[in-house]
Amino acid sequence: MTNTTSPIKAIEKQKPIISLKNIAKTYHSSNIEIKALSDINLDIMPGDYLSISGPSGCGKSTLLSLLGLLDSPTEGEYFIQNVDTHNLSMDQQAELRNLHIGFVFQSFNLIDELSIFDNVALPLTYREDNLSQSDIESRVLQALAQVEMEHRKSHKPNQLSGGQQQRVAIARALAGQPSILLVDEPTGNLDSKNGDAVMDILNNLNRQGTTICMVTHDVRYAGHASKQIHLLDGKVVELSHAAEDTMTSVAPITNQTSQAAV
């Protein structure tokens, strides 16, 4: 906390929303040490549409969970909206997630016992600033409208198809008007038609200014993003910008690199 302003609320528009410096994540299991991520440096600017891709087990979801403050890095620094997350308490991290990060999971992760309306409203009920019921209602309906699911607001998740559930999950992520959407394999559990529909929604949102960071193993969908990161064995090996049509190799992709990472 600096001065009297909550670090969480300090927002500067032109600086990166998220900044990772030398991030590493190591898991320890029995006597085995697994380096899931190492030496990750990344800046996500407002309005970015970033995709993170790579083979299975390369650390994509781990990176996303670190970005979402769902897990903590073993090394390195992580700044979100200029706030160093290293010394934040669990509650401060929760507040940060609630205000600035919207999550979309691969398996939707809606709560079965709540209606669609209540699922989307859930993050708003966790707000410290106590939104009025009418505010919550209008935001929920607006978010549902964005994903064209307004008409199913009274239904339960298990009454919807996979594609519909994923759209509701996106609405839930949007309802809080976050700084960034973190999307984990949004089409992983969907057929191509529904997958395309979801990607269209995400593309539209980015066009409207929403910053999106998406993990996907699908090369087609990865290409929708303006910035693409390719991970291999926990390291960034390629960074490309679709608009500039350039590709930067961060490290040569060789077998020796793979073995060194392990």
Partner: protein, 812 residues
Amino acid sequence: MSAFIKTKTQFNLAFRSLKSAPGFVASVMVTMSLTLATLFVVFSLVNTYFLKPLDVLDEQKLYVVEQEVDTPVGTHSGFQSYKAIIHWYKTQSSFEKLTPVSPNNIMLTSLPGEPRVVATFAMPDYFDILNVPMLLGQSFARDLPLEQASDNVVISEAFWQKHFDRTPDIIGQTINDGERAFNIIGVVAKSFEPPYMFYSGKTDIWLHFGSDRRFFNNGEWDNPWDNTYKSLKLVGTANQGTSQESILKDLDDRIEDIRAEWLEGYETSTDFRPLVTPYRNVELGDKGHLSLFLFAGTLGLFLIAVVNVCNLFFSRALAQHKTLALQAVLGAKRRLLFNAILTQTSILMMASVALALFISAWGIKLFKHLAAGNLPLVKSLSIDFNLLFVAISLSLLLAYVFALVTSRLINYKALKNQLQSSGKGSVNQVSTRTVKVLITTQMTFASLLIIFACLALTKTHKTLDRPMGSKVENMYSFGAFIRGENDELSITERFDKIQKIKQVFEQLPQVKGVSLGRSPVSVRITKSTLADMDGKTTDFTPQAWVGSGYFEHTGLKLLKGRTFSDEALRGEKNEVMVTESLAYLLDPNGDVLGKVYDGHEEKNEVVGITENFNHPNYFDQDKGRHIWWPSRPFGYNFIIETKPGHTLDQEKVLLTLRNEDARFNIWQFIPLNEEYGRIIYMDIITLYLSYILAAFTLLLASVGIYGVLSYNLGLRRFEFGIRMALGAKKVRLYKLLVKDAIVPLLLGVILANIITLVIYNQFYDNLSPWLTFDISFALPAILISTSIAIYASIRPMQKIIKARPMKALRNE
């Protein structure tokens, strides 16, 4: 595949599956085996009391005859006079075998230490009726008439062991009571359990009924109609086809021959009648209710354990979800899944029951040791066919119930959907409502048991904490006599001699103080009545004969008046003292000093009122009421207090007495702290059992609550992960816990309290001997148990909240 191979395969699969979950198996087996073992022990008691046939000649025809007497203050039953019993014995026509039975203490002067033993006086039919097994020799000859004394004695195996060291030539040896010699003609096997109704089943020797000098004494002393004995009864096997009612009529008809004599001899009675009761009912007394009460408590424990284990099976089903889902996808029908679960539950339940039987064997042994002499029919407790049948039935039933409940809770259709949604735990298999009901039920049962354990504890603590009215530490009570001295010396001479003996003891270096009298600190007490000059009589009230210095010596305060005069102690005046509660019974203002009442003597003046004497075993009936009679010089009864660190024994006392007069014998020698220990023995056992029950219940309840919450939170771990990912803070998550877990928990506690109040008020008369409702005692217990349960609820949640949200999302 043949059925045998299918079963064998299923068994192997189940066994391997259980082997991979040792924690689960251990939890289930420990919970079930301990609880079942407790259930089996208590069931063996209930089985013995209500189901197992008694080891007697013909239980269906076996009855006990007592008398019932109407007096102006009420009807008294269960106290018999010799004259009535013998009249019925001689004149009845309803029994094919019949015996009067009466135990008494006698001193055997021919044995080292001149021990006092319990002798049961009975006729030869006693040994047939009660199926008494003879280890050696024989019982009494049949041809000896009732009134004729016999010089034969039958001894118990324990007596043979203790006093004769199991010498092989025991038959023909003699024992002597100072006046008569008895020839040992038989030894009763130790497997025989004498009836509890006679001196709590304690018998060392058996003598012919005609040898009972309380009645058959060559006219030396008349045992009057109103001199009644609790342990004097008739026991008999009725004639074939004779009902209880016809026996009653037969004996009632016989009363007409003696009615006039009875009424004249029993002045305070207005009417009387025989009381004929099936043997089992008299033998059990109120202990039958105790066993049922214990059984109800154990069943409650058992139910908690069953709910706990259900929870553990739910958790296991959750852990095996993916396996079950795969099987469903591969074509396994519901029945197959059920059989798989049933095989696992069957293995677990059979193992638990086997272990429980093993533990209960030891439990029964321990119970027999603790309860011997305090509960009837204890020797008959065993693992018998009934118990084995119950054990096997329970194991099959529980296996089926656990399998059924577990499989019902698995949503078969959702299993297949599980795999489609990548199985990240998003499907909530059990509704929140079900879990809330589980928590509420669990807590209600547990709280009920804990509350009732506390009520029993309260009762016991009250009994143990209540001041009795006599010191017992370093206190000894003994009675000595010299045969025939009452005929040799006048009352005054006896009085003076007693005073001299008192001084001799007072001068012993280890003695702190001496008073005259027989201490009322005794397992067995006697009672009598007081009648005012209008003929209004009190109920039977405990009594004791004490000297003037007794009260100051033993610490019982004299509240009003004075103690006995020397004239009263010499028998020249009739005085009586009463306790405060008796004074208030006699007079609403308690103002009885100077008033005169008839008792053993006529016109006894009340000279003093003392504090209440609260005998632990009789407080509920008598509320501290007590009659104090002056100790007349018919025997040498003393209460001696030794200095701290010093002790007294019978040999020392006898030596001291015989230094004054070599003819002295000791009738009884009782260290009062040991006697007090015997008095409160059952209360101590109840205390420990109640603490153990409460602790065990708390443990089971905590395990159960923890299990339910863990299971619930385990199911919802992913949900909590989502909520944390969406920004829910700790406070919000704890609020959710309060709503879903703490509120049902508290509801369970409230329900338990309401049920307790209702049960206690409805069944107050039956429960009040065992339970006391005291909120100051129950409240801390309720608070502690609730706190522990709340902690057991919060603990699993803390683990989830402390960890990173990603762990919850990964269901770690």
